[in-house]
Symmetry: C2
Subunit: 486 residues, 2 copies
């Protein structure tokens, strides 16, 4: 298992390099190198010896509970991976690599059609993958399950159908009130100063720079090659203060989780994260519940004075807090406020469901995308770059990923309530926001478990209750009522 992890982590190094430093002409051969690593890891993991070893281990009575869980989860993974032919794994890896470069090019040139053919190929492959893996109700279920074990279209439809009207209600209340001024978040924010601020914030979150580093990439991401080498990336827009900082905190939340996983379980399920929903709960908890709280900025307002004294000299902490929480329908998911964010996710979820279900053709994505943005957010998408080309995920073949962002946000609100209490006002005095308290709680309740529990079990264990979207609705209602004086 650890040798297979070595191969997977080697792929991750090659991918990290590809998205940060690789020269353009390196792409073609990098694609085949990644495909070979993926194919080999798959071959090694799905060898008959692996299966018989795992099955015989499962019969051993002398294993500890943790060892047994490693065996069970490995066997689940084994059985699942055996459903995918090695040739399929290689083709997917190669197609993903081509699609990534096509996406980069399409995005640069703001033209979806450049990406369309690669995307079509990837979707065909993912449909085939759903058939290989099997499903009961909807082929998309097979893909959702890969990111969050047990997740289904039925469950998500249920959650999103209940969430949508409740968010719409808050949104409408917000729209009826005077709007928040946030013009001062745009202007001229020096690149180096933004970078230094990001690094300082990562440091105060507890990110260990001896076991990680930050670099620049087209699309921010976190990756790791062990729990001792967990890297984040960011992008900087000199005209927009919000663009980098919360993306930095977001990736930092992911990274803290990876750095906190049990190092001794390298390559084994108990050394891996629970699910992508739980991973997203970590990033969203830090980015939003903490990083957009008034208490955080009451405490760390000196950072603004340190890095951008001119830009913020006439802005009060209260004004700043309101601005970074301004609710307004917009085009870019990663820059969306906490409320409209869910619509960005729901739109992608609905499109993917149709693409994998076969009721939407890839060539119709831009039109369908723009239609849904008009329907849910009432805005007209001006071009593909600010529309269906904005996210890297599809170019990675990650269909079924987006919904974990919303579900993660719901978990985040539930964890936040467990950490800081849910009874008092959403406006805490700065002394009450001790971020060490969040770090401590996560280190105790989330990080050490690896994949021992699935998302729902972990949530129940940590908070005493399984996923309950009311925490998010209550958090959001109180927060925006206070900000907008509703």
């Amino acid at each position: 298992m650890q040798k297979i992890a070595d191969l997977r982590y080697s792929s991750a190094v090659l991918q990290w390099d590809q998205e940060t430093y690789m020269p353009v002409k390196g792409a073609a051969m990098r694609g085949r190198q990644l495909a070979t690593l993926a194919e080999l890891a798959h071959e090694q993991f799905t060898s008959p010896q692996m299966g018989s070893m795992l099955r015989s281990l499962k019969e051993r009575r002398t294993l500890s509970a943790a060892e047994m869980r490693n065996v069970e989860l490995s066997l689940q993974d084994y059985d699942k991976n055996c459903k995918l032919p090695a040739s399929y794994v290689r083709r997917l890896s190669e197609a993903t690599n081509l699609a990534f470069h096509a996406w980069i090019d399409a995005r640069r040139k703001n033209t979806f059609s450049i990406f369309q053919q690669s995307l079509q190929h990837l979707i065909d492959l993912k449909k085939q993958e759903a058939e290989y893996l099997g499903y009961v109700h909807h082929p998309y279920d097979a893909l959702l399950d890969e990111f969050d074990k047990g997740q289904t279209v039925a469950k998500l439809d249920n959650i999103f159908n209940s969430l949508r009207p409740r968010i719409t209600e808050i949104l409408e209340a917000v729209a009826s009130r005077p709007q928040v001024e946030d013009g001062f978040l745009r202007g001229n924010f020096n690149k180096d100063a933004q970078w230094a601020l990001g690094i300082e914030v990562l440091g105060l979150m507890g990110y260990d720079f001896e076991a990680g580093r930050q670099d620049i990439s087209e699309h921010p991401f976190t990756t790791n090659f062990s729990s001792q080498d967990v890297r984040v990336t960011t992008r900087i827009d000199e005209k927009d203060f919000s663009n980098m900082l919360w993306s930095c905190i977001h990736e930092g939340g992911h990274a803290l989780y990876e750095q906190g996983l049990p190092a001794g379980e390298y390559g084994l399920p108990l050394g891996e994260y629970c699910s992508l929903s739980i991973h997203e709960s970590q990033s969203r908890l830090w980015e939003n519940c903490i990083g957009r709280s008034n208490s955080f900025w009451e405490k760390y307002v000196y950072l603004l004075e340190k890095y951008f004294p001119e830009q913020f000299k006439n802005i009060s902490t209260r004004e700043f807090y309101k601005a970074i929480n301004k609710v307004s329908p917009s085009f870019i998911r990663t820059e969306a406020d906490e409320l409209t964010y869910h619509f960005h996710v729901i739109i992608r979820y609905e499109l993917e469901k149709m693409l994998i279900g076969g009721s939407l053709e890839p060539r119709d994505i831009p039109a369908a995308w723009n239609e849904l943005y008009l329907k849910y957010l009432g805005i007209i998408v001006p071009d593909d770059r600010r529309g269906c080309l904005q996210d890297v995920h599809w170019s990675h073949g990650s269909f079924g990923y987006f919904s974990t962002y919303s579900i993660g946000s719901l978990y985040a609100a539930q964890f936040y309530a467990a950490i800081y209490g849910n009874s008092g006002s959403i406006i805490m005095p700065s002394n009450d926001l001790d971020i060490g308290k969040a770090a401590g709680w996560l280190t105790q309740h989330i990080y050490p478990h690896g994949r021992y529990y699935n998302s729902e079990e972990l949530c129940a264990l940590a908070t005493g209750e399984k996923l309950n979207p009311d925490y998010f609705v209550s958090y959001a209602t109180r927060k925006y009522k206070e900000i907008y004086g509703i």
Copy 2:
């Protein structure tokens, strides 16, 4: 063969990352990841199927000459690799990784003893490797052969014994003359300006930045992951102008060779470099014959005016040319002049011969090193950092590598004569040094052949004569006579 190349190039990406960007705590797991890749590449390459496929291909009458040569060379490599057990390959990879980090630490702390144990382990492994590979006269022959096919202690003793007195003669003549002033090469040379100068010089050499990049590392090196992704690294000393620039040109020479190898032969012998001696001939040709010529600086003196106008405002091109060719025994190989350089190599060669032969123990390296520096260069080594800890090579397990630096320099002088003619004065008017002429000659005579010929055959084909050290002696004699007015 191409899948095996994918694994080897993946290792190269992990190694590049390790020496440029990897956070310190990443080292331990990186070591095992590299070991797994090395072990897998070895396993795949030495599988019985590989052997029988290669042997059956060798019998095919329909192969082209190039295809047949790929088969023959692969079979040679196969037979050689089969002599090394997979467990040995893994142990060597792990030991190398530990040794590399011990070396970094030892060098930082200027203490050989920190490195000693890892080095001892590596030397034991390399002795064992020599036994596995087999040799006729001296175990060191088996290791020399890995870097330059057919190279032996007997041949090298012969070359070095003839070279040493002839270089000493020039050195003594130089010592009897008034010394060259080069104080202006030390001072304060801004890091960013040095970096930009290095990038510009790489560009004018013809290095393709779309198929490569430069980064900073402890020890400059060139690596590649295909002929379309060839990377160089450098280091910058703000107090010393010479430190970076010629190292940059040196690595650039290596990189041009790799970028020039046939891209269509990815993963096959004809897509690989001939030998490390020929590789070094490329770096030394650019670094010294071209990069330290008066003609180069008559042509490109504007670079000094552009990047360091203050530092060089009262320095004539003639003074600059003399300074960058100052002959003076010194401690650091990579900063040595073209004459004393050979002694740095000969010292390492003699030490390795004793270490592998068993007549020198690793713990005695510092004493033996310092003794030889006193004997050949008349200087007293002040500490390990400026002594036996200066080079990365041993920490990589590269025993048998150093001699290729001297042999490469001899090839370089011979190629230089073939390109620009050997009859005229060493001082060419700047118009006569068209670096495009060198690039063109190398592109015609060296790059396209890959490993088709061995070093001696390639040299004979390119210059009409096999390796003849007289070219170097004649080049050096004329150059230093002119500079020192001998």
